[in-house]
Amino acid sequence: MSAPVIELRDAVAVLGAFPALAGADLCVGQGDILLLRGPNGAGKTTLLRLCAGLVPLVRGTGRVLGLDLLTQRDEVRRHVGLLGHQNGLYLDLTVGENIRFWGATVGASEAESIAAMDRLGVTGRLVDIPVRKLSAGQKRRTALACLVARRAQLWLLDEPHAGLDAAARDELDLTLRHAASSGATIVVASHELERAGSLATRTVDVVAGRIREPGRS
């Protein structure tokens, strides 16, 4: 069995003086699509940012993709993709130019960028369209293709369905399932439980900075 992609033990992370994560335990395997449920302020976004190497671990232990969150945070960032409410795209570049740029930041070849486009179905005329002219769903798909191009092995998605219409949500779900079946590990924080729940292979609750498996007290 391969090593877990995310492994947190008694993880504590603070925002200012507030412990946004207060002893979280979590283990996520490769290819999982994990849904984080919980009310606002429960610590879902902080958990994603901790796993992305953006928030320091102040107590406990944590490893992401085998890298230590205490000592290798910069290295973690290079292998993880975090997608929040914004897509992180350049609106005046075309879809293809965006994907090539993000791929090139990690030294990906032209062939790898094209493979990322193919994998996400970003092909044909779409490649040459400026991102500014895309629909919300197409922008999301382009952003995910950028994650693939920059070789992100762990995708951390914060409310990925927000702002998308029904067709774009279906498209996004299909994309995520396809990515997970290709080996990517995906963690989704969402309030849209019906939509994200049907996508997830596993669900956990985030409550007051701790993680609970559903059905356990």
Partner: protein
């Protein structure tokens, strides 16, 4: 990835954005041209214009630079791309150097156009002996302006009211460039009896300024944008 390679990548991306959007060509250059014409209307005297032309060129450059800097960071913040670069672990020094290189390239085009406008509108002539000084001044002043613009543009990008904050931060900081570049260009053009040799000490000031802000900016840029 090597910092300089990454910086070239960022610069190329910014220049591609400019090529796609044509903001320099369609907005900044016309703005700079209009500024030069308005200076001529305001001063309304050939003798005065000939005397103050070098200063007006650099003033117009700095006002136009503010538009360019706003633009270069607007493309980063419109859809959270700057955050995404940092999240992806991209070296902040490379982002700073890349954006400064791209801004510098656009400033050089702008300065060339403004100098041409000064020749046409303000009856300036460029003596052969002053050409080297003129080019050296332009390059060294551009490096300083690009470094300051990128540093403060990155700082202001994270704040509300950045449109007004940027000039407040930038214009006082680039005052030494305005003074040094104006004196050096006066020497290059022979304005008011100045000779070429008068200009080189000012170029020295411009180089020191560019190095200080280039090195300081590349070190400070990461913490500034992370805040």
């Amino acid at each position: 990835m090597n910092v300089w390679r990454l910086a070239r990548l960022v610069a190329r991306k910014d220049l591609q954005i400019e090529w796609n959007s044509r903001v320099l060509l369609n907005q900044v250059l016309p703005f700079a041209g209009v500024t030069m014409v308005i200076f001529a209307f305001a001063l309304d005297s050939d003798a005065v214009l000939e005397r103050v032309a070098p200063g007006l060129v650099w003033l117009a450059t700095m006002f136009s630079m503010l538009v360019l800097v706003q633009r270069t960071f607007a493309v980063e913040t419109d859809d959270g791309a700057l955050d995404a670069l940092r999240v992806a672990g991209t070296d902040a020094r490379a982002i700073f150097l890349g954006k400064a290189m791209s801004l510098g390239a656009q400033l050089l085009v702008l300065e060339a156009v403004l100098l041409l406008a000064a020749v046409v509108l303000y009856r300036q002539t460029v003596p052969v002996g002053g050409a080297v000084l003129l080019v050296t001044t332009s390059i060294s002043a551009t490096c300083g302006l690009a470094a300051v613009g990128t540093l403060y543009g990155g700082l202001a990008a994270g704040f509300r009211g950045r449109e007004t904050l940027l000039p407040l931060l930038t214009l006082p900081a680039v005052a030494p460039v305005l003074i040094g570049a104006t004196r050096a260009v006066e020497a290059a053009l022979g304005t008011a009896g100045a000779v070429v040799s008068d200009g080189w000490p000012w170029v020295g000031l411009l180089v020191v300024f560019a190095v200080a802000f280039g090195v300081g900016g590349s070190l400070a840029f990461g913490p500034l944008i992370d805040e």
